[in-house]
């Protein structure tokens, strides 16, 4: 049986009795005519009585039907698609997937896209509530779809639609706001499949309410396949777009340390990046900075071209050690969430650097130590520690970001293994050669056919002959972070470095293009001098000459200090920087059970202030305690508070940011969406016009059919009335018997 969107209006069917009443009233209002030619009238009546009565009854029925159909059209009858639904034997389940990514906070005319989306949900609720019994309703936000081990948490799950349903839905909608996530539609589409099962005994209608930003649909294969799966199961799909136009938006897309050794009291450089997602250039953009909650001078950007990013560098100095919070903020625009960017800078008081020198006089260590920590007024934050190769045998290396080997003749296999583990774990290794080094050990112990730490095989010692006719510098460097600060044609420091001897690579050696091995500096004769490679998460830089000014004069050059500092900073960075934490992703940490208790408190920023949750860490197979904050709902700095064995609190901070790409407000229109969902049958609606066409959303609206029926009935009524001669002619009836005199 059909159901009605506005069932109370069915009382209007009583109006169908109006034609009967009019007929009865007309019966009482007969005109009275005293008539002479009665016999002809009686003959006519006798002849036509049955047919006239039939036509009049049909006319009355047609008029009653017309009134009834108009009432039914206003009441919006709906016929569910499935035959079972038609027969009234099955349920209809309405599933609303609501995009609550932060691009939904796009504001215009005092209302956000999210507000429009909630209105659309409310309208769907009204429609469903008007549809009668046997209906259930599920509301799932994108950000609540289970991913990464999280449970799916719908706001309403298979809620029975009863008289209180709309009130409950409205209360739920009041609590819903755009999140700070960049959640897309794939997860919720997956989640409803898992959450609701096959559902063979019910008709399902899925409403995907979103802003349909281009970014989320650039690779639509996943979405298309999931929608096609749903469609194959007979699910009706309705895609409701809540955005009417694209608006310009600026976003802080990056806030990071750029270079240098991080230590207390050391001046550091950070960079902030602002991207303009609009179609017009943004001028005089001011980025407000905060350092540990204290305002810093703002960074001003003259112009951010349309569709481009601009990076600005600024200097920070953290006087004390610890995890420091840096925040960047833009002035308000249509989307607020991406106007903020947070960074946590872990600042140690000092950074230890291990120098392992194999020579007796340890000249290399001396010059390296001098370059790492020159002393005097110059503070680098580095604390060099000089050890012999034996140190590598049985000491943990994790405390050192970077280890320097200089003129090491031989290392035990254990030491080599320890070093490899250290670099593979993310450490940096600088290898300086020297007179004590032997090609045999270097090749067999450190290169190992390309599997070891050394980036290249060593052929043997070689001398660089002095060419007095050629004034070319001995060093020819590529564009590389280590040499970049000394680059440029006017910079003479590099040209002052002279190399006399070095370890040469075999003549036929060339860096494999597919490997990470890269020659970053060559000698005048083309022989590699400085070669790097990535090893696991860390890097190795091999300097094929001495650190001390024995085979070259670099150690005594002012450029050497700069080169070593840059090398330290370069090697201290991991090959693959840890992925930035985005809102919605979990925070995981592991710690030593010997030092910490298993209780962790997470303090997270929230809309209404900080929120604290307590977690018990779990001891896993690696003998480490693991704790996990499964969800991060807000951008900002989250803090994990660990309790040490002695009861002290050790706080670790994590910067969680919004996905800046979500700030790209470019949207898809209906045709673009259709191109991406080719082959999937769905109905596309604009949220503003969704109400007018809501009929299609829960089944087949019979209004169209009724309209056609009404037209047919109106035409039939006209014909019948004309046939019954109820429509008087415009002019007097033409005389059938001439008005002239004689017949």
């Amino acid at each position: 049986m059909p159901t009605f969107l506005h069932a109370p209006l069915l009382w209007g069917l009583l109006l169908a009795s109006v034609p009967v009443l009019i007929h009865l009233i007309n019966m009482m209002r007969h005109r009275r005519v005293r008539w002479a030619a009665m016999e002809f009238l009686l003959v006519s009546r006798k002849k036509n009585r049955t047919w006239v009565l039939l036509k009049e009854l049909l006319l009355l029925a047609a008029r009653m039907s017309i009134v009834a159909i108009i009432v039914l059209m206003v009441a919006q009858p709906l016929l569910r698609d499935q035959l079972g639904a038609v027969l009234g034997g099955s349920k209809t389940h309405h599933i609303v997937l609501l995009d609550d990514s932060f691009s939904m906070s796009d504001r215009s005319n005092g209302a956000t896209v999210m507000d429009r989306a909630k209105e659309a949900v409310d309208r769907i609720g009204a429609m469903v509530a008007a549809g009668g019994d046997s209906r259930t309703f599920t509301l799932l936000r994108f950000s609540e779809a289970g991913r990464g081990g999280r449970r799916t948490q719908p706001d309403l799950l298979q809620e029975q639609v009863d008289s209180e349903f709309r009130a409950r839905l409205r209360e739920t909608l009041k609590t819903i706001q755009a999140s700070e996530t960049a959640a897309g539609p794939v997860a919720p589409l997956e989640a409803i499949g898992q959450l609701l099962g096959e559902g063979e005994d019910e008709t399902r209608v899925v409403y995907l309410i979103s802003d349909f930003r281009k970014k989320q649909w650039d690779r639509p294969e996943d979405i298309r396949s999931r929608l096609a799966e749903l469609r194959a199961k007979g699910v009706s799909l309705h895609l409701i777009n809540c955005v009417d136009a694209r608006r310009p938006n600026l976003a802080v897309t990056q806030l990071e340390l750029t270079s240098g050794t991080v230590a207390a009291g050391i001046a550091l450089f950070m960079e902030v990046e602002v991207r303009n997602y609009g179609g017009e250039p943004a001028r005089n953009v001011s980025v407000v900075l905060e350092e540990d909650g204290h305002a810093r001078p703002a960074v001003r950007i003259d112009e951010v071209p349309a569709g481009e990013s601009v990076r600005e560098r600024f200097e920070v100095t953290f006087a004390a050690g610890g995890a420091h919070r840096v925040a960047a903020r833009l002035d308000g625009d249509v989307v607020t969430a991406d106007n903020y960017r947070y960074a946590v800078v872990d600042v140690p008081l000092e950074v230890p650097a291990l120098i392992v020198d194999g020579s007796v006089d340890q000249q290399g260590a001396f010059f390296l130590s001098a370059a790492l920590a020159p002393g005097g007024n110059v503070r680098t934050g580095l604390r060099p520690r000089v050890e012999t190769p034996r140190f590598l045998d049985d000491n943990p290396l994790d405390a050192f970001p970077v280890i320097y080997l200089t003129d090491v003749e031989h290392l035990d296999q254990r030491a080599v293994k320890g070093l490899e583990n250290f670099v593979a774990g993310g450490g940096g290794l600088a290898i300086f050669l020297g007179p004590r080094c032997r090609a045999g050990f270097l090749n067999e112990g450190l290169w190992r056919g390309g599997e070891g730490l050394l980036p290249l095989p060593i052929g043997g010692e070689s001398a660089l002959f002095i060419d007095r006719l050629d004034n070319a510098p001995d060093l020819d460097v590529v564009d590389h972070p280590i040499f970049r600060v000394l680059g440029g044609q006017n910079n003479s420091f590099l040209s002052q470095i002279k190399v006399g001897r070095y370890f040469a690579a075999p003549k036929d050696w060339k860096a494999d293009a597919e490997s990470t091995v890269r020659v970053i500096a060559r000698l005048r004769d083309g022989a590699p001098l400085v070669v790097e490679r990535a090893f696991g998460k860390g890097r190795v830089v091999a300097w094929l000459s001495t650190a001390a000014p024995i085979w070259n004069n670099a150690g005594s050059s002012p450029a050497f200090v700069v080169l070593v500092q840059e090398m330290q900073a370069y090697l201290a960075r991991r090959v693959e920087a840890a992925a930035p934490l985005l809102v919605g992703s979990p925070i995981e940490l592991s710690f030593d059970p010997a030092q910490y208790q298993n209780q962790v408190r997470f303090v997270s920023p929230g809309r209404d202030g900080a929120e604290t949750t307590a977690h018990d860490a779990v001891l896993k197979e690696d003998n480490m305690l693991h704790a996990r904050l499964t969800r991060t709902d807000a951008a900002g700095v989250h803090e994990a508070q660990l309790l040490t064995a002695t009861g002290m609190v050790d706080a670790r901070r994590f910067a969680v940011n919004v996905d800046p790409a979500e700030g790209d407000l470019a949207r898809l229109d209906g045709s673009q969406l259709a191109a991406r969902l080719d082959g999937v049958e769905y109905a596309y609606h604009q949220a503003d016009t969704f109400e007018a066409r809501r009929d299609a959303s829960i089944g087949r609206n019979l209004s169209d059919v009724l309209l056609y029926l009404l037209i047919v009935l109106l035409v039939g009524e006209m014909l019948l009335a004309w046939s019954c001669s109820y429509h008087p002619p415009e002019t007097r009836v033409a005389a059938p018997f001439g008005r002239g005199a004689a017949a």
């Binding site: 008539w35 002479a36 016999e39 006519s44 018997f737």
Partner: protein, 299 residues
Amino acid sequence: MSDAQRFLDPEAIRRIARLELRASHVVEGFLSGMHRSPYFGQSIEFLQHREYTRGDDLRDVDWKVWARQDRFYVKQYEEDTNLRAALLVDASASMSYGSGPLGKFDYAATLAASLAYLILRQQDAVGCMTFDAKARATVPQRTRRNHLDAIVRALDGSRPEEKTNLEEILRHAAEAYPKRGLIILVSDLLVDREGLFKGLRLLRSRGHDVIVLHVMDDDELDFPFSGPTRFEGLEIDHRLSCNPRALRQGYLEALGAFLEEIRRGCASNRVDYVLLRTSRPLDAALAAFLSKRMEVRKK
């Protein structure tokens, strides 16, 4: 509309209250429309010229002939044949219906008075009978000019009331006007047709020439009613509530059959038949009479 027709228009006639004035108005109007003065003699039909002899009325001298031939000729008219006409006017209840300026009975009475006036002006004798179920007033045939007053009184004194019984009436007329003459029946003929035709046959068998002037109202011929209507029979005790437009076609078919039956019945009895609408001028009836008058004279 010509001047003559204007005089004959029912709307104009309605404004004249007295029947005798109506009659003179109609007839003079009708005759003036035919030619200037055809009735200057004692008869209405010119026959031949005859040479003047002493004693002839100087008014009969044709001065135009004298002017051309210098001889006196007098005009000779056809001899007065003493035409005896009888007007039978239906005053039954059905004649009371009327939708236009003149009801059927008013129209019939005006027509009868006009014919009487015309006949009397021709020095013919005319009588009159009004009837419904039976004869209500009978005026004998006379030729006197003032006889019109008696006829008008008979017409004025009649009010349509009862049913018609034409067979009886025509039989009665045959007896009331035994000498052969012209019988003019003015009626709506809403009667038993068999009785009507019997009566007409009777009149014809007595040697009467008969003219039937069938008076019908526009409403009866066109049936223009619309909207819920309750019809109450004037002569038939029957009430019918209906949508008249639904029955119109059937009504018109029945009416057409009726008119055809009347027409055929009259033709078969060699009775002149003229259907008259109450909304139309009376000239058709007068012309029909004059045509018949000429036939009678020729006989």
